[in-house]
Each structure stands twice: as C-alpha cells, then as structure tokens.
C-alpha cells in the first residue's frame, strides 16, 4: 500500500486538520468530537444544513461547507459513517433556531447514526429533518436491498438545498425542496481499479487488467457486474442509459449533467466521458443546461467515474446558480 499518509489510524484527523489549515477563511475544525463548520458562527434565524458520512470521499462533505451550501460536515472514519455524538455536536453548533436539516446518504450505517443523533437532538429541543439521498440506479431491486445508495447526486442536493436555506426558506420549504431534488436526480458509476482503505492495507476488490466493474458505490465495494475493457464511449453508455431511463428523461427536458471522478481518474478522461454523455442526452432531445465535471464524490484513489443527471426547472436552475463559497465549489462570490 503506497499512500501519502503517516499512521493509517490518524488519516482522517490529519486530513481534516490540514484542510482546516488550508481554508481558515472558510471553515473551522472542531475536535472532540470531530466536525467542521463555517468559519462564521451559527445560522442565526435561518435553517442550518448538516451532512456527513464516512471519510475517503473528499472533497465530500467538508469541502462543501460554506456560504450557500453546508453549515457543518461530520467526517467518520474512512468509509464508516460518523457516530451520533459527532452529529449531535455539529447540529448544536450550527443551529440558529430555525431548525436543522440532516442530509444523509442512504446507507444503513449513515441512516442509523443520523437517526440516533436526530432523536437526541429532538429531545434537546432542536427541530431536525432528514433528507435522504438515494440516487444510485445501479441498485435495481430496492425491495430486496437496503434501498438505493446515495452517491454523487449528494453534491447537487447539498448545493441546491443550501441555496434555499441561505435565502431564508422555512424548514418545511427546505425539506420539501430536498425531496424534490432527490426525486429528480439519478447516478451510476464504474471502476477501472479498486481502492485501498488505509486500515485494511489491501485493495477493496480484485480486477483484471481488462475488466471494468459496473454499478459500483463509493466505498470501494464491488459493483453489480463486470464487463471487458471497452472504449470510453461504450462505457459511458452503460452509465448514461440506465440513468436517463430511470429518470424518464424525454424530449424537451432540461438537465444538469455531472461527470464525477472517483479520485484517481485524470480530468481529461472525465471530459471525454462528459462529451459522450452530453451526446446521449441530446439524442433524447433533452438539453444540457448546466454541467459539472470533476472529482467531487470520490473513493480514495479509485480510478473510474460516475454520471449524474438532475432534471432541472427554473427554480432549480436559480438555486444552482446562486452564489456559493466553499473550498470545493465556488462561484458568484
């Protein structure tokens, strides 16, 4: 295992401390328990947004703390959801009296820990609502699973919901908007290589030099099936077609197209995938109105990508375009 780390047990702590040192103008790192908030104080008078999950997906979530997006992020151990005490502390720190929304990716661990934290916060008089993100169409049979996973679509949810919270929407309105974004966003990913969790020291799965894993999540878990090494155009279709089908994209639709890198893929390859994905969207008569390309929801050094499509309307476009100032996403300010 070759990594730019010191002690595998200290990876999360050292990452978050370095992150805090790099962005003191935007964020503050709290320890014991560990969480990250905006550098400015709590969200006085407006709804606050807290998200979190296992580490190893950087810049998610801490990289999205800042004006117009999250108020706090709670990093767990690598690929392990954070614990209720961290989530409670973060929720307390940012609550400005108008309630707090927890944005949770749909994994049993995240759901259970946020659920426990939410109960504790409610008991202390903080109004907490949960927006559950489950955009991964690779999980087909949600009757027989823990339901669809939350993957790269989470960034879009955090950005759009964050803009609504920032402009002062009520907790009911923000929660409702969150569900609307979730209903309109779908993703699917593939891996060219596995990743290695520092404390495991071994790759998360084995993949031959000519195999691609289709339908992966973001925790280095194996996908649903393997295909041979195909050109980028064909691989892109494996992702885009199920996404567009599931979302029911038809002629006249406007979408945000997001090609996300898994951490170890060069940006150049993501643009090749984007080009093909945009063509496939156009073939359905839909328009790519907004786009995002980059490594935003990663699996350590995994090579691969995911494609996310969000169906837009005027409201979502306005909120997407609203100013945002976080370490990983910034415009308008």
């Amino acid at each position: 295992m070759k990594k730019l780390i010191n002690d595998p047990k200290a990876v999360v702590d050292e990452t978050v401390q370095g992150f805090g040192r790099a962005h003191p103008d935007l964020v503050t790192v709290h320890s014991g328990p560990l969480f990250v908030t905006r550098a400015v104080g709590p969200a006085r008078g407006r709804v606050a947004l807290v998200s979190g999950g296992g580490s190893g997906h950087e810049p998610l979530h801490a990289g999205f703390v800042g004006l117009g997006m999250l108020d706090a992020a709670v990093p767990g151990a690598v690929f392990t959801s954070p614990t209720p005490d961290q989530i409670v502390a973060a929720t307390h720190a940012v609550d400005g009296g108008a309630g707090v929304i927890h944005i949770v990716k749909n994994y049993t661990g995240d759901v259970l820990n946020f659920e426990t934290a939410g109960e504790l916060c409610e008991a202390e008089g903080i109004e907490v609502r949960t927006v559950l993100v489950n955009d991964d169409v690779a999980v087909e049979d949600s009757l027989y699973t823990a339901g669809r996973r939350g993957v790269a679509g989470t960034v879009l949810v955090e950005k759009i919901v964050g803009a609504a919270a920032e402009r002062g929407d009520s907790i009911d309105a923000v929660e409702k908007l969150g569900r609307k974004v979730v209903e309109n966003v779908r993703s699917m990913g593939l891996a060219l290589t596995p990743c290695t969790v520092p404390h495991a020291g071994k790759p998360s799965f084995e993949l031959a030099e000519d195999e691609i894993e289709i339908g992966i999540g973001i925790h280095g878990e194996p996908g649903r099936r393997r295909v041979g090494l195909e050109p980028a155009d064909a691989l892109t279709e494996h992702l885009v077609t199920p996404v567009l089908d599931d979302l029911g994209v038809t002629a006249g639709d406007r979408v945000l197209l997001f090609v996300n890198g898994m951490g170890g893929t060069p940006l150049s390859e993501l643009y090749i995938v984007f080009g093909r994905a945009a063509e496939l969207v156009a073939q359905r008569g839909a328009t790519v109105d907004r786009s995002l390309v980059g490594n935003y929801v990663t699996s350590l050094e995994m090579q691969g990508c995911s494609v996310t499509v969000l169906r837009l309307d005027d409201e979502l476009v306005e909120l997407w375009d609203a100013p945002v100032a976080t370490p990983a996403l910034r415009w308008g300010v």
């Binding site: 005490d85 027989y144 823990a146 194996p222």
Partner: protein, 215 residues
C-alpha cells in the same frame, strides 16, 4: 461454576476486545468481500475504547458494565455495527436491571432484549444475511439451558452455527445487499463478530483471569 457478576461482565468485555483485535484482519477481509472492508477495524476500535473506559475502575454491576459498552460502541464504532451493537448492549443492560449475577433465564432475557434492539433499529428479518442470523438462534439456544454459563455456551455455539449458515444466503439488508446474487458464498461479518462476542462471555466465565485489552 463462576458467578456471572459485575467482575465477569468486565472480563467479558475485555475478552471481546482481545478476541476482536485478534480477528481484526479476518473481519476486514470478510467485509471486503461483500461490504466495504471496515468491520474488523470498527469493532477493534470500538472495544478498545470500551477497555480504555473500563480501565477507570471496576464496574459496580453487570448492568453498569453493559451500559459502558453501549455508550462507547455507539460513539466509537460508527457504520451500521455501531448503532446496532450499541442498541444491543443498551437493551441488554436494561434487561439485566438490578440483578447482581445472571442465571440461565436472565441470560436468555438479556440476549432476547439485545436481539430485539437490533431488529428494532435495523429491521432485518432472519435470513437477510445479517448479525440477526447469529443472535436469533443464540436466544433460542440460551432458553434451553438452566444456569447462566451453560446458557452462554449454548448461545455461542448456536451463534457460530448461525454465522456459518449465512454463507449461502443472498443479503437483503446492509451494504452487502447491493451485491445481489454476488453476496452469496461469503460469511456475514457482523454474524461472525456476534459469535465472537458471545463466545467471549463463556471464556470470561471459564477463566477468572482477566484477559486485558489488545494482545
């Protein structure tokens, strides 16, 4: 025959820590196969934190020891296993109540409470390829024994068999469920860690020498 009292409870938790440290890599590998490879790390970290807490001084009662375990697991494990085991130990602590030591029926009641807590949180049915598949047969087996030690011995053996029986199953809960058919052919890591935890209770009863933390 040893009393399953407060001192035993402390020994049990320390033995859990020792055994889970020993099996850390095995549990990581099981979880790599059908999950995300952290279960061994999570359990090791969690029970090491339990031991650190126990080092403050001996527990006053069985219930107190189990509550310490619940709180530490809840705040140090994370993932699915943290809230599930945390809830299990919290319910177990409540079920034990004021009892100074545990006889057979008390062990059965305690294990049943733990299992119910896990099911209440995780909503898994037997056969879903989760830790429930170790806890459920354990509760049934414990009900057939008279004294506490024998109840734990029967429970541990049943849990071990339950864990082995998860191998052919297709997972329907937790991370492994995303693999669909590909989850068959592997043991469920949480069921295996459950069997270690129950076996540790027997070891702690048989040997009065506290095992300590990490080997």
């Amino acid at each position: 025959m040893t009393d399953l009292d407060a001192a035993w409870a402390d020994r049990w938790l320390r033995e859990c820590a020792r055994v889970l440290a020993v099996h850390r890599e095995e549990l990581i590998d099981l979880d790599r196969a059908i999950g995300d490879g952290d279960h061994g790390e999570n359990m090791d970290r969690g029970f090491q934190a339990v031991v650190d807490k126990l080092d403050d001084g001996p527990s006053e009662s069985v219930a107190a020891a189990l509550k310490v375990a619940a709180m530490m697991l809840m705040s140090k494990v994370g993932g699915a296993a943290g809230p599930l085991y945390g809830t299990a130990f919290l319910r177990a602590s409540a079920a034990v109540g004021e009892r100074e030591s545990l006889d057979g029926p008390a062990v059965e009641a305690m294990l049943a409470a733990a299992r119910d807590g896990i099911v209440a949180r995780g909503k898994a049915d037997p056969g879903d390829k989760t830790m429930v598949d170790a806890w459920s047969p354990a509760v049934v087996a414990a009900g057939r024994a008279a004294d506490g030690e024998a109840a734990f011995a029967a429970a541990a053996t049943a849990a071990e068999e339950g864990a082995l029986a998860t191998k052919p199953l297709v997972a329907r809960k937790g991370r492994a469920s995303y693999l669909g058919e590909r989850s068959a052919g592997h043991l469920d890591p949480g069921a295996v860690s459950t069997s270690y935890i129950l076996r540790a209770a027997v070891t702690a009863a048989v040997s009065e020498i506290s095992a300590g933390g990490r080997p």
